[in-house]
Assembly symmetry: C2
Homo-oligomer: 213 residues x 2
Amino acid sequence: MRIPSHIGIIPDGNRRWAVSKGMTKEKGYTEGLNPGLVLFKLCQGIGVKEITYYGFTTDNTKRPSEQRKAFTHACIDAVNMLSKEDASLLVVGNTNSSMFPKELLPYTNRKTFGNGSMKVNFLVNYGWEWDLNNLKLADKSKRNIHNNIKSNDVSRVDLIIRWGGRRRLSGFLPVQSIYADFYVIDDYWPDFKTDHFFQALKWYNEQDITLGG
Amino acid sequence: MRIPSHIGIIPDGNRRWAVSKGMTKEKGYTEGLNPGLVLFKLCQGIGVKEITYYGFTTDNTKRPSEQRKAFTHACIDAVNMLSKEDASLLVVGNTNSSMFPKELLPYTNRKTFGNGSMKVNFLVNYGWEWDLNNLKLADKSKRNIHNNIKSNDVSRVDLIIRWGGRRRLSGFLPVQSIYADFYVIDDYWPDFKTDHFFQALKWYNEQDITLGG
């Protein structure tokens, strides 16, 4: 079976999950922590080299403050949790903003935990415009794009898996996602099942890889 | 019914269609012309304001020369065909390359044909790197991305419809596609049916629009 080197995870549907359970929207985020850890271990088990979690974006911070606080805390908890695993961990996002949690500043340079076997990227207060604006500072004579964006330490993504049924990227790493295969799971992220992951891998295994050629 | 303002069209599967009919791959492209015109008229009929066709990319030009010639000619024919309709027509792509057909140079400034009611963009020798590299020439003090890319006259895309079953963007307008809803049709582009379009619209009508918020 062909295993993607780099998997992007869009863990959507936390708020809709909470509402479906009769809870207020912000209660959905903590339910996403355990699925994130299970998914990490599944990726580790099959030899995925890199995984990127879509934590929250600069767009998301416009939501009501109870929600903003809840998803920010869930991201802090998730990164701390992953730092107890074998991971080469990096948090990527705009730190020049009060929306960036100071608890995660130590992770904005890649750090190895345990044997650091897998690259794990966590997007926190990430913005696609923030990412691409770095190109305005680049050397005009060089043609490469990827080396010159803010998220240059995040590799090209092979497979994006999005939970919660929406079929869109919502600003997720536009440059690294150019050639990515995109698999959507209708269930909400807190309803994560290991079978979702294997469905996505099975589908990915049937795709051809052309990189636009 | 909520009608998308701007629809992106990825007309994929021409080569697979040809092979499935026992023909050589390059024979598939001319079969895509009529579907393109039918789709134009459907969009016009329901009041879509803008449509963008994915003609060919700089990545595609690495294919065998018979294929390259065939898709280039199909694009020339398609643009000439659309210039007989009511359209405000623009061809977008890298003209500083021998791969750009000189027949289409007159269309690289937007031109109105008939009453020009609908904006029609046609990507020809388009490259996402070519598009984004323009940011390196931009004023660093300005934060806007869209105004500073080569394809700045192409608006944000609401709905992308891709024929041929692949679930990926393959370099299609990365900036304008950031928030786009993405609908995939398994049939090959030459097997276009009007019902495909109405399926996509029906699905789009059920999506919420958050622009990442």
